[in-house]
């Protein structure tokens, strides 16, 4: 082979490699990440230790902490449907009734005479498990005696919110248990203090009920949770992937919906949002099994501490946070953590410590560090905040009504606080990045978009938008030819005709000029692909300031 031929081959190879990495594939942006493709039958249950989970996240930094974009977003910066997340109110218009119903398939349930098969074996809330007439398993969890309706109210509100957001949650119902209609199944068991399993007796039931809130009618209010379909295989951690699940390829600390959960958790004060409070279920048919990932246990959100009102520290500081602790120690207590002086509404026992005046969504903390939360960037938070914005006042009040608070003022306080906290979440996170969204390019070249912060009413209209248009080469991933800059004051512009003609891909870098938000100058890069006579938005990449 001659030298010229070798050179030609080498150049051809180089160009091939260079051209082998298109930025956008024909199926971009994908709407579904098919993470059921490979059989996960080999997955085995993973049990989690509360103490280990606390210690490993408090004393060590787990997971990949690089400041990188979420791994599982599609090219328009959204989360495709998967076994982790199903776009619901983020993609479709849900009626108020659908949002309130959440995952539930029944309006109400009555468990009179359903056989009790086992005392609840984990967690601090008293309860037990029953089976319905078809044999399906349910868990009953009671409210604490000093705070009737608190934990059960929090549970159903949290489940409805998380379901509407897109997470997998189990069905949950508020029920009243008649102690005279509790039936103990033959073979029902409990675990004694020595850790030994033994037969469950009536006095065990009485012991459980002694720790439960008794209603004036002699019944006990509780949450009834239906066990999810499939076989439990433990829980997921907020970092890494399951080594026994072939479909789990995105490190959890880089999953958008887990990073963004920090925003939702802050909104609801879900300080117990940790891996231990998740559930992995093996579903599907033989040879095609896959793992579905659930969020569960919302009984300690919104100021509920499950068995008592939540401690004031919750949401404001980790259980063990060195800086404030050392300041308090060294000053002999003269240093006062700001959250200590917060006043809480005490008008109803069914409401825990839940307030919106002091709440700071950026400073909010779970019980201990969470790798995915720590990795949350401005673009992750923006995605989450846009979902929170879908919860209108009407929707929030309807969801709160599901808790059936009986004390005067309780529902109003919970709803008002959720609304106040929602507004703070939107102000914090819709403005943290350049809030350009919903880009559209008509066949005639009219470009429109939304400023989500302005739409949500948390920011005034900007001074101007600076648009820089150029052709885009999908093979090389770079702009081609001259770019054209224009400045508009409204979220609407006409694309220069000279760029439209003959282009397969167009990009617009959008900078937003606002006197209050200098970070909005960081551009959002939008990419459109010609689709027949129309244009399809295929790329949204939001430059985010370093964490």
């Amino acid at each position: 082979m001659s030298s010229r031929a070798l050179v030609a081959l080498a150049i051809a190879y180089a160009l091939t490699v260079h051209a082998a990495a298109p930025t956008f594939y024909p199926d971009d942006p994908i709407q579904v990440d098919d993470d059921r493709a490979f059989d996960a039958s080999g997955a085995r249950p993973i049990e989690g230790s509360n103490v280990f989970d606390f210690a490993e996240h408090t004393f060590f930094k787990r997971g990949d902490r690089r400041d990188v974009r979420a791994r599982n977003v599609n090219t328009v910066d959204e989360v495709p449907d998967s076994t982790w997340f199903t776009n619901r109110m983020g993609r479709i218009r849900m009626s108020v009734e659908e949002i309130v119903r959440g995952p539930n398939r029944f309006d109400t349930l009555n468990i009179d005479d359903w056989p009790l098969v086992q005392e609840k074996s984990s967690g601090i809330t008293p309860g037990y498990r029953v089976t319905d007439p078809s044999g399906h398993l349910y868990q009953v969890k009671f409210d604490p005696p000093l705070h009737p309706e608190m934990a059960s109210g929090a549970e159903v509100i949290g489940a409805a919110v998380y379901h509407a957001l897109g997470y997998n949650v189990v069905e949950g119902y508020i029920i009243e248990v008649d102690p005279a209609r509790i039936t103990i199944a033959p073979g029902a068991t409990t675990v004694d203090m020595s850790g030994r399993r033994r037969s469950l007796r009536r006095d065990d039931v009485d012991r459980i009920l002694a720790r439960a809130a008794r209603l004036p009618n002699g019944r006990y209010r509780a949450t009834l949770s239906r066990f999810a379909e499939g076989r439990p295989v433990g829980y997921f951690k907020y970092y890494g992937t399951r080594p026994d699940d072939p479909n789990d390829i995105h490190p959890h600390e880089h999953r958008r919906e887990l990073r963004g959960n920090r925003v939702f958790s802050a909104w609801l004060n879900h300080d117990d949002s940790r891996g231990i409070n998740s559930l992995d279920m093996l579903e599907g048919r033989e040879g095609r099994r896959y793992i579905r990932h659930y969020m569960f246990d919302f009984g300690s959100i919104m100021g509920s501490g499950s068995t008592m009102a939540q401690v004031p520290r919750a949401g404001n500081e980790y259980i063990l946070e060195w800086a404030p602790a050392l300041k308090t120690l060294a000053s002999l207590g003269l240093y006062v953590r700001p959250w200590i002086t917060v006043d809480y509404w005490e008008g109803a026992k069914s409401v825990g410590r839940f307030e919106g005046a002091f709440f700071d969504p950026i400073a909010w903390r779970p019980e201990y560090p969470n790798p995915a939360f720590d990795n949350m960037r401005g673009d992750d938070a923006f995605w989450a905040a846009r979902l929170v914005a879908r919860f209108t006042d009407e929707v929030i009040r309807a969801i709160v009504a599901k808790a059936r608070y009986s004390e005067p003022g309780a529902a109003e306080h919970v709803a008002d606080t959720l609304i106040a906290r929602r507004d703070k979440v939107l102000r914090a996170w819709l403005t943290a990045v350049n809030p350009i969204a919903e880009p559209q390019l008509s066949a005639g070249g009219v470009f429109t978009f939304e400023n989500s912060a302005v739409t949500a009413g948390v920011a005034t209209a900007p001074t101007a938008y600076v648009l820089t248009w150029s052709r885009f080469d999908n093979a090389t991933g770079s702009s081609v030819g001259d770019s054209i800059e224009m400045r508009v004051t409204d979220p609407r512009a006409s694309v220069p005709r000279e760029l439209l003609a003959g282009s397969e891909y167009l990009t617009a870098e959008v900078q937003t000029l606002h006197p209050d938000y200098s970070n909005w100058r960081l551009p959002v890069t939008l990419t459109f692909r010609r689709a027949g006579s129309a244009w399809q938005a295929v790329g949204i990449e939001r430059a985010a300031a370093p964490r």
């Binding site: 190879y13 026994d244 602790a325």
Partner: protein, 418 residues
Amino acid sequence: MRVLLVLALGFGLQASAEARSLTLEAGNPKPKAQDEPATRAVLLRREREEKSRQLTPADPSRVERLLLDLENGRLFERLLNPAEGFYPRIGNISAGSGISFGPAYRRPGLFGGHADFSSFAAASFQGYWMADARMRMPRLAGETASIDIHAQRYEFPDENFFGLGPESRREDHVTFGLRNSIVGGTGAVHPTRWLAIGGGFDYLAPRISTTGDGRRIGVRFGDADAPGLGSRRDFVRFEAFADLNYREPRGNPRRGGRYALALQRFDDTADNRYSFSRVEADLQQYISLLRDRRVLALHAFVSTSDVDAGHEIPFYLQRTLGGPDDLRGFRRFRFRDRHMLLLQAEYRWEIFTAVDGAIFYDAGRVASRVEDLNPNGLESDYGIGFRFGTRNGVFLRVEGAFGSAGGKHFIFRFGHVF
């Protein structure tokens, strides 16, 4: 030409490296150089296919497995406060016992749920031991009445004695052994959750040992300056009490108070030489600051004894001051006499969940005459410490006490001070 070839290949390799780099940086998986997939879905499928060939079972670390076993076995609960069954008891059985260990058993809900049984036997490396069994019926008459029946036997082989009175000298330090058996019962009515009024009786059989290691009491003291030293007596103790207790939470109070008054009568069952009466008041007040994150805790305890004509109070039944629970800057039982006054103040501040700091000041004195129980001439100390536990109780406290004539003292003790 070769240069061109190298440059071209180099460019190709660089482009390939950039593609991999983009994969990492941009977040979205990018294709590999060869065998380019046609769609994003295929690309993701290939990643999963590759992982499916490398599956391994989840392998928790040894530490995680150990902790999980401990949690599943409820070991922490069994150690700290089990509801029922056998468990190891770890703690102090008296002021000078050191850490003691032993088996314990608890069985609630006996007799139709009315009675709770508990018992333990514990011993320390210092040779102290105690066995205790009691049956409590706390839920009688709709939880407005309670009965407690108990039996206890203990031996404390190395108790301090410095002589009687506030002027006793450190250099007179001797030790004695005390063995006691107690059987008795208490009954109370509870008109409200925070008030108990009741009474009880105990049969006591204390025995003093003057033999053993070190400088024992018999070397320096006799019956004249250590009443009861030379005789064996059994006693019947009668008690009436009122206890107003509205502390919150009870195990580690942040607010509220406790005001208890007890009238006791000790009758010598033999020749009636050591009978006496005693009145004791225990006052505690907790002032909550900054939503319970700071607490000013105040404690006053006064005990006065009235001796029948011609009688004495055995030295081992006299009230003492000094040690980890009262005058913390002094050796245990440093002062001993018929009457006693103790004043304590603590400023407690929460450092973080389950750990409090405390600065304290203790003052007190003993006296042979009740009129000498006045604020003048009190022995005192101050110190600083940490308490480990929860809102429901202090599991452990570590303190340093200073500023007294008794020197510096380091305290490592299970349970709260008051």
